[in-house]
């Protein structure tokens, strides 16, 4: 499955590159594109966050065998929840992921290596959702649900054998 990584201007090219280079099978890099649409309407003044569901609506549906993931620097929420790392259209081929929570402000000494690892894991995670995977019980699988950013460090940016088997593409 080919991956199109869309990103807003506040995501550094280095992060886009490292997310791209870390893709695990059956995900393969397709293209990285700057997101040109406007997310202004998705901003909620009272919460000072972006509405993940509205942002997701702004992500275009991909062509067959492609997945579209939008990387944003902004913090995301959905109405009933305080925040979300990301949100996907399950099996709909598209998703959105925020970098804001992967590097919380109280962790500003986070090394770039740790952040890159988290980014790769959560990129795989959101793409997995977009491709139809739900949360996985295997603890180090990318599809395991993380409660805190630190818990993301316990996972691998790869799918376990069982999740892998549920995805299309060469064995």
């Amino acid at each position: 499955m080919k991956v199109r990584l869309l990103h807003t201007a506040d995501v550094s090219p280095g992060h886009v590159r490292s997310a791209f280079s870390g893709l695990a099978p059956p995900l393969v890099p397709g293209e990285a594109v700057m997101f040109r649409g406007s997310l202004a309407a998705c901003y909620d003044r009272s919460r000072a966050q972006y509405d993940a569901f509205s942002v997701l609506e702004a992500v275009p549906s991909p062509e067959p065998d492609w997945l579209n993931l939008l990387l944003v620097g902004a913090d995301l929420f959905v109405p009933a929840l305080t925040y979300v790392f990301g949100l996907s259209h399950l099996a709909g081929g598209r998703g959105v992921l925020s970098l804001a929570r992967l590097k919380p402000p109280e962790e500003n000494d986070l090394t770039e290596t740790v952040l890159e690892h988290r980014l790769r894991v959560e990129v795989a995670h959101e793409l997995g959702h977009a491709a139809g995977l739900v949360h996985c019980v295997v603890n180090d699988c990318a599809m395991h649900r993380s409660l805190w950013p630190e818990s993301v460090d316990l996972k691998n940016p790869e799918f376990c054998a069982s999740c892998r088997a549920r995805l299309p593409g060469p064995g």
Partner: protein
């Protein structure tokens, strides 16, 4: 796969319904929604969802009324009430009326995820167990066995101890699958929905290990510009797995002992203890009794972790499993490299069975991978293994084997002092440690 738990979101606000629906679908639930009380009750009859998330304040029939109707018509259904801060008192009334729990909007993803998962457990426990077993067995080659023998005994011990909260010490040579056993214990325990927090204590210096285990507060030391949760804290409600526990310096042993006794952890540079609840699994390739006798390992800490011991057999002690494992790895690598290799020649099988495998299952896996690369036909021959065939010349052909030989040489020159060897090789300690693992090099 088992049928997913059905969840229904009842709220008059369409945007909230759709976004929560998307979010819960990612959790693996089958999600329905209803815009009001009447619609909810009709859907309840038709679709029989097991869990309802109901907003307390809705025009027409409100959440409390929905709750009462559900309790009357479908008492086995779990109802969770969603409320705004202002109506918490009504939510408490809801509990009296038989709601499972209530949550205040906006709620933290982790708390709602835990709450709904706990409610769902009643419906999924059996099927989740079955599914998890299937998933784990697909990803744990070191535990594959031909049936009977020492590994089968290990699996029996795992099944015995996993459901309890007892501390487990896993011993065995490097490459025997100690971490896999730890994962298996976690995944068969009641804590399997919680995290498995892993620390490889052998790869870290004392200062880094402390901060990795216990976390640190902002400004605790140079470079600690921010607060960070340690692996002990992250293990809350799950399992803490400390690999290479025999390498933990005495000072950190004391700190760990205190955490185990007091069930709370204080971050480095902090003074506010955080309660933690975890199950401890440790592993080592060392003989801890020897380490205690030599004064390198504290006896009180030893007694604390040496409660239930699982000793993993070396691969040479379970020869009957070698052909099964070899065939498993062959299948995996042949598929990955898109090669048609059916099996092993009798000489290759004999060579594998006779070889002592000092690096155990990990070494076997590496050997098969290498053999698949070298093999030009449809059968693996003895000459494809570095330990047999036309002599050592073939073995030293690959970059990997040259690297391994060089690392072994430097390590023994430096008396296995990791820091010195890493400096000599101009790589960092963790990289060296990983390479030692990869090549199955053990400190003597």
């Amino acid at each position: 796969m088992s049928a997913p738990v059905k969840l229904m979101i009842v709220d008059d606000e369409p945007h909230l319904r759709s976004s929560l629906t998307f979010w819960f679908r990612e959790e693996g639930y089958d999600v329905l929604s209803a815009g009001g009380g009447r619609e909810a009750l009709t859907t309840l009859v038709r679709e029989a969802p097991q869990i309802l998330l109901v907003d307390i304040k809705m025009p027409g029939m409100d959440g409390l009324e929905v709750l009462r109707k559900v309790r009357e018509t479908s008492p086995e259904t779990t109802v969770i009430i969603m409320t705004a801060y202002a109506s918490v008192e009504t939510a408490i009334q809801a509990l009296k009326d038989g709601a499972y729990d209530y949550i205040v909007k906006p709620f933290d993803p982790e708390s709602v995820s835990r709450l709904v998962k706990k409610a769902a457990e009643r419906y999924t426990l059996l099927s989740e167990n079955r599914e998890l077993k299937a998933r784990i067995s697909a990803s744990e080659p070191a535990l594959i066995t031909a049936g009977g023998g020492p590994m089968a005994h290990v699996l029996e011990l795992v099944d015995q101890v996993a459901p309890t909260d007892t501390s487990v010490l896993v011993t065995g040579e490097s490459g025997t699958g100690k971490e896999l056993v730890a994962r298996l214990i976690h995944s068969r325990s009641p804590r399997r929905f919680g995290p498995l927090s892993v620390v490889n204590c052998g790869a870290l210096s004392e200062g880094v290990l402390e901060s990795e285990l216990f976390g640190h507060e902002k400004g605790a030391f140079t470079g600690a510009a921010a607060r960070r949760r340690g692996k002990v804290e992250v293990a809350h409600e799950g399992t803490l797995f400390l690999d290479e526990i025999g390498d933990v310096p005495p000072k950190v042993q004391v700190d760990l002992l205190r955490v185990l006794q007091e069930k709370q952890v204080t971050r480095v540079g902090g003074n506010q203890p955080v309660p933690v609840d975890f199950r401890l699994v440790t592993a080592t390739h060392r003989d801890l009794e020897d380490e205690v006798a030599a004064g390198r390992f504290r006896q009180d800490f030893f007694f604390r972790i040496h409660v239930f011991v699982i000793e993993l057999p070396a691969l040479r002690d379970r020869q009957a499993d070698i052909p099964v494992l070899a065939q498993y790895f062959l299948g995996r690598f042949a598929t990955a490299m898109n090669r048609k290799i059916g099996g092993f020649s009798p000489a290759a099988l004999a060579a594998m069975t006779e070889y002592p495998w000092p690096g155990n299952v990990r070494e076997l896996q590496n050997a098969i991978e290498r053999a698949v690369v070298l093999c030009k036909g449809d059968t693996i021959e003895a000459s494809h293994f570095p330990f047999s065939g036309p002599g050592p010349a073939a073995a030293s052909l690959t970059l990997a084997s040259a690297e391994e030989a060089h690392i072994r040489k430097i390590l023994s020159t430096m008396g296995f002092n990791i820091a010195q060897a890493a400096r000599a090789l101009e790589i960092d300690r963790v990289t060296l440690y990983n390479k030692m693992r990869k090549f199955g090099i053990d400190r003597p």
